[in-house]
């Protein structure tokens, strides 16, 4: 007798993941509904407000895009490391480091013309993110220290440094005693596109395309993915794992630093300890949902931008904006579960030759990031 058996694919296919993402959104909205209901709000009213404020009209859409920009950049940052199985949990801190160095440059070169100053600040941002990543990257490539913990620890360091700069060395003398850093020069504001959206969005989009091409279409990208999925094969093929780990992590840090500079020149106007605003952490969810693919990062970042704008807007209804954090976390959980469930397929096996005639299972992916410490 032939009987059906549930078999599972090892790797999640992009189409499956797209569907899982939708399921995640629905599951999150369902949980949110329960939370809102039990705390005495009208879920329909809240969700309608969220939807309207994120999508209806150019102004709403521009706000969503404004939020999606740093999310896409931090998402890409995490995804670049993730495409070789590494986890950059500290994009939040690298973003801050980028903004710190960019602010420093703006202070020293405030006489420069706009485009030149912006270009300098962006380069400075990239450098800042890379500097904060240097320690974790070297420790990971040469000593196999878990980059998960080291990158995360440096988030707290970067934020504390900003707090220190605010109260001490960079305190704005014209701030009437408030502990704030002076705003970046006017000419350093990124040109706007429409509404609140600015050029930063195009920078993010361009970078996503560049990395999509680099990772999926070049030998460099192939080696990167190979080094992540089968380190032994990569080593045999003459790929230096150490250098690949270093490059991937430093690039990851640099992109997060760039996100800091873009946020500084695009939306924030001045460096403060709230500049990174959780974008770096949300970027982890974005990249995980996108299966570390740049194309997916763009889509997920847009949706998360909308969720965050929506979360802000419902505060006027007396609903805590923490709802949007919960929704983001739940989307990831829901999608994770859905992807696993969808990944089962029915396989028919006969009684005698039980495991013959199987399609070759795709090899399990060994993760180099796991052999920490």
């Amino acid at each position: 007798m032939i009987r059906p058996v549930l078999a599972r694919r090892e790797r999640v296919l992009p189409a499956v993941q797209a569907f899982a993402f939708l399921v995640g959104i629905v599951a999150a909205l369902a949980l949110g509904l329960i939370l809102l209901w039990t705390s005495g709000h009208n879920p329909a009213e809240v969700y309608e407000r969220m939807f309207d404020s994120a999508f209806m009209g150019t102004d709403s859409l521009s706000r969503t895009l404004e939020r999606a920009t740093p999310l896409a950049l931090t998402g890409l940052s995490v995804a670049v490391a993730g495409s070789m199985g590494l986890w950059n949990i500290g994009a939040e801190g690298q973003m801050m480091a980028g903004a710190i160095v960019a602010t420093g440059v703006a202070m020293m070169a405030d006489g420069l013309s706009g485009p030149l100053l912006i270009a300098l600040m962006i380069v400075a941002g990239i450098a800042g993110g890379m500097v904060l990543m240097l320690g974790p990257a070297l420790a990971r490539s040469h000593l196999r220290v878990s980059e998960i913990i080291t990158t995360l620890m440096l988030v707290y360091v970067a934020i504390r440094v900003v707090e220190w700069l605010e109260t001490g060395p960079w305190k704005d003398p014209d701030s009437f005693g408030f502990a704030v850093i002076e705003p970046v020069p006017e000419q350093a504001a990124l040109p706007g596109l429409f509404g609140r959206a600015n050029i930063g969005m195009l920078i993010a989009l361009g970078l996503l395309i560049v990395f999509w091409l680099a990772v999926s279409r070049t030998a460099w990208g192939y080696e990167l993915r190979l080094a992540g999925s089968s380190p032994d094969t990569a080593r045999y093929a003459g790929v230096s794992l150490r250098r690949k780990i270093l490059t991937a992590l430093l690039l990851s840090g640099g992109i997060a630093g760039l996100a800091g500079a873009v946020q500084l020149t695009g939306s924030a106007a001045r460096l403060d300890s709230g500049l990174s605003n959780g974008y770096g952490f949300a970027g982890i969810i974005v990249a995980a949902l996108a299966l570390m693919r740049p194309s997916g990062v763009a889509v997920v970042a847009f949706v998360f931008g909308a969720v965050q704008v929506g979360g802000q807007s419902i505060q006027t209804l007396g609903v805590s904006s923490a709802i949007s954090d919960i929704l983001q976390g739940m989307i990831l959980f829901g999608a994770l579960v859905a992807a696993v469930l969808f990944n089962y397929r029915i396989r028919w096996i006969g009684p005698a030759v039980e495991s013959s005639g199987d399609e070759p299972e795709e090899p399990e992916e060994p993760e180099p990031a796991e052999d920490a410490a």
């Binding site: 913990i149 080291t150 707290y156 504390r160 923490a322 696993v340």
Partner: protein, 318 residues
């Protein structure tokens, strides 16, 4: 620096040490069973807020402590369901737990910010011993959670090292197929370990909100959950070394807010003139430094980590 200040420093060292030890002990159990749980920060936040709310409601710190443990176990159960039962990526699931848990804690606790429960844990002067100068105050006049945590540490060591259950748990962390063949359910062992670990983290959270910093504010766990994750590596996955590491980190966490008041000079810099924000980076820099040193020591030797740590196990279909 006065004698009282010095004693205060060591008293706080024991308390901070207890806080991170309890959470790290839970993570150790999960990791010995082969499950990496990066959700400690989220589980602690959930424990802190739920413990605090139960404390407000009941006035009993013990009810709060055990409620927080139950909530921690429940949140850990979510990680077990997703990463052990369904076999999803442990890193992603754990991070989702931290991010979602912090968000949920902030939402649940939004109305109790600034409140103070009537009864908190009180220090337990152990008769006779508490009166010994120095030692008495530091070790024998602490809240009961401190002693409970010491007992839990001993219990975890005993169960892992000396019992059949502990052997099975460790086997699940070293080689899941072997454990399976030996007739144990890897899924049950791992899920159980993750949930017990979650209970420890949740309980640690309530120690924070009901004793160390009474009250609830968003972000009050402030990275201690992550330090607990790092501590497990520092402790080489052994409860004894974990305790030593916890005291070291406890000392740093206790020292940092006090450095301001110390009139000492370090490398030509007067410590009390350094900004508190800069001193705040101390525990985190120490964590990174310690991890690097540990890895340096193991650079030519196999890592002491459980061999199957982070690898999902699925029984082949038959």
């Amino acid at each position: 620096m006065s004698e009282a200040a010095l004693i205060g420093l060591f008293v706080a060292t024991v308390q901070f040490g207890t806080l991170v030890f309890l959470a790290a002990l839970g993570e150790l159990i999960a990791e010995r069973a082969g499950v990496l749980n990066l959700g400690v920060e989220g589980m602690m936040a959930m424990g802190a807020v739920s413990g605090f709310m139960v404390g407000l409601e009941t006035g009993s710190p013990w009810a709060a402590f055990f409620a927080a443990a139950a909530v921690g176990a429940l949140v850990g159960g979510l990680h077990a369901l997703v990463s052990v039962v369904l076999g999803a990526d442990q890193v992603v699931s754990g991070l989702a737990l931290t991010i979602g848990g912090l968000g949920l804690a902030a939402y649940v606790g939004r109305n109790v910010v600034g409140e103070r429960p009537e009864t908190l844990f009180t220090d337990l002067g152990i008769a006779g011993l508490a009166d010994i100068p120095w030692i008495g105050e530091i070790f024998f006049d602490q809240p009961p959670v401190v002693y409970l945590t010491v007992l839990l540490g001993l219990a975890v060591w005993f169960v892992l090292a000396r019992t059949r259950l502990g052997l099975a748990v460790r086997a699940a962390g070293e080689s899941a197929p072997t454990t399976d063949t030996a007739g144990h359910s890897v899924m049950a062992l791992r899920s159980g370990a993750v949930m017990v670990g979650g209970a420890f983290a949740g309980a640690a959270g309530s120690f924070l909100s009901l004793y160390m910093a009474p009250g609830w504010v968003e972000g009050m766990v402030a990275g201690r959950g992550w330090i607990a994750v790092a501590l497990v590596i520092f402790g080489a996955w052994r409860p004894g070394r974990l305790a030593l590491g916890a005291l070291l980190f406890g000392f740093t966490l206790a020292l940092q807010p006090r450095l301001q008041s110390f009139d000492i000079e370090l490398l030509g810099v007067e410590v009390n003139r350094i900004s508190p924000a800069l001193l705040g980076i101390l525990p985190f820099v120490l964590t990174v430094a310690v991890l690097v040193i540990i890895s340096w020591r193991y650079r030519h030797r196999p890592s002491p980590a459980p061999a199957a740590l982070g690898l999902p196990y699925r029984r082949e279909e038959r």
